[in-house]
Amino acid sequence: MNDKNSIHNETQAYTRTVQEAENFSSCIDIILSNIFELKNKNIDQILSQLPDSSAHTIKKILTDNKVDSADHTAIENVLLKAKEEIKNLKIAKITLAIDPSEDTISLISDWINKNLGDGIILDLSKDESILGGVIISIDGVYKDQSLKKNLEELFIKRKSEILSSFLHK
């Protein structure tokens, strides 16, 4: 149970977005396709060919699960479980008005995990016309909380007030 939690937690920590999940899954595939060719070689040789972040996460998962680097079968089992975890992740489609920075991605991912539960990754897209805020869609529920929509609602609600203040100036 602890092993499973470790895999789950590490996978979650590394894969915040769909893109990251696909990259991580590709790295696991690379290891799985080369693992039985290792024989007397060390797994570190393969990990060294992968991006640092992915290699670090995979190494941490193997260490936490006390997997012997020479036990190729055990490595395979742990990595297959990690891949299964990725497959089971939910996707939250989020539209932003800007290109998200790493900070912004972390901010959104943390908020999602804290408020909507873990096991959710982000499918981010950009649409400048929404001006700000987000449009989010998860589990078939769609919410438009963009600045554009809020402004439009504001203008509709306070149309006469805005017009009169503008025209009397």
């Binding site: 912004t104 959104i108 989010i136 919410k143 600045l147 439009e152 503008f166």
Partner: protein, 237 residues
């Protein structure tokens, strides 16, 4: 080759019969030919006689016809001569009678014309007098009618003018009200259009201004705020 005597005898008899028949036919032909020649001679004689008689008759006829023509010509000449004489006499007589008749008729015609002219003058004088009298009466009637019609026209004109002024006044009032209404409608429409355009412009400017003026920290704050609102709005089932 031997011939049967019976056959020979028959053939001899047959030749004999045929010879007799031929001889009879020759005699008969000669006789007929003689008769024919005799008849031809008679026919020729007869034809000559006929020709002679015919010539005589023709000569006689020519002679008689010539005599008739000559006699007829003489008679015709005589008749023509007599006719010419008669024609000259008749013509003279006719001219005399005609001249006398012309003179007589001219005198009658002149007399009749004179009478007719006098009657015409009298009638013309009467008609002129009547016409002058009628013209005087007509002028008077026309004058009276004209004065009366002018008076009527004046009255009608006065009435129509007053009525027309009233109608024009009402029409002007109606048109003015209509124009005023149209102006008011147009004003309202234009104001609505202006309001809408200003509103849309204002909204667009606001969006542009807000969209461009936001810093990254503002965006992050807006994102978190939006996520909180989505959560409150029921994003989590």
């Amino acid at each position: 080759m031997n011939i049967n005597p019976v056959v020979f005898f028959d053939m001899a008899i047959s030749l004999f019969v045929v010879s007799i028949a031929l001889a009879a036919m020759a005699i008969s032909y000669t006789r007929v030919l003689k008769k024919l020649i005799s008849h031809q001679e008679k026919y020729d004689d007869l034809l000559d006689k006929i020709n002679e008689k015919e010539l005589d008759l023709l000569e006689e006829a020519r002679r008689k016809s010539t005599a008739i023509v000559e006699e007829a010509t003489l008679k015709a000449q005589r008749i023509i001569t007599e006719g010419d004489t008669l024609n000259i006499n008749t013509k003279n007589l006719l001219e005399k009678s005609l001249n006398a008749l012309i003179r007589e008729q001219t005198a009658i015609f002149e007399k009749t014309s004179q009478n007719f002219l006098e009657s015409y003058k009298n009638e013309l004088s009467i008609v002129q007098n009547r016409t002058i009298e009628i013209a005087r009466n007509v002028s008077k009637d026309i004058e009276e009618d004209t004065i009366s019609e002018v008076k009527d026209f004046d009255n009608i004109l006065a009435k129509e003018t007053i009525q027309g002024q009233k109608i024009v006044g009402e029409k002007i009032e109606e048109e003015f009200s209509h124009a005023k209404k149209q102006v008011e409608e147009y004003r309202t429409e234009m104001l609505e259009k202006v309001n809408k355009n200003i509103y849309e412009l204002l909204e667009k400017i606001s969006k542009t201004a807000i969209g461009k003026s936001l810093a990254m920290s503002d965006h992050q704050a807006l994102i978190l705020d939006a996520l909180e609102k989505a959560k409150k709005d029921g994003i989590k089932n």
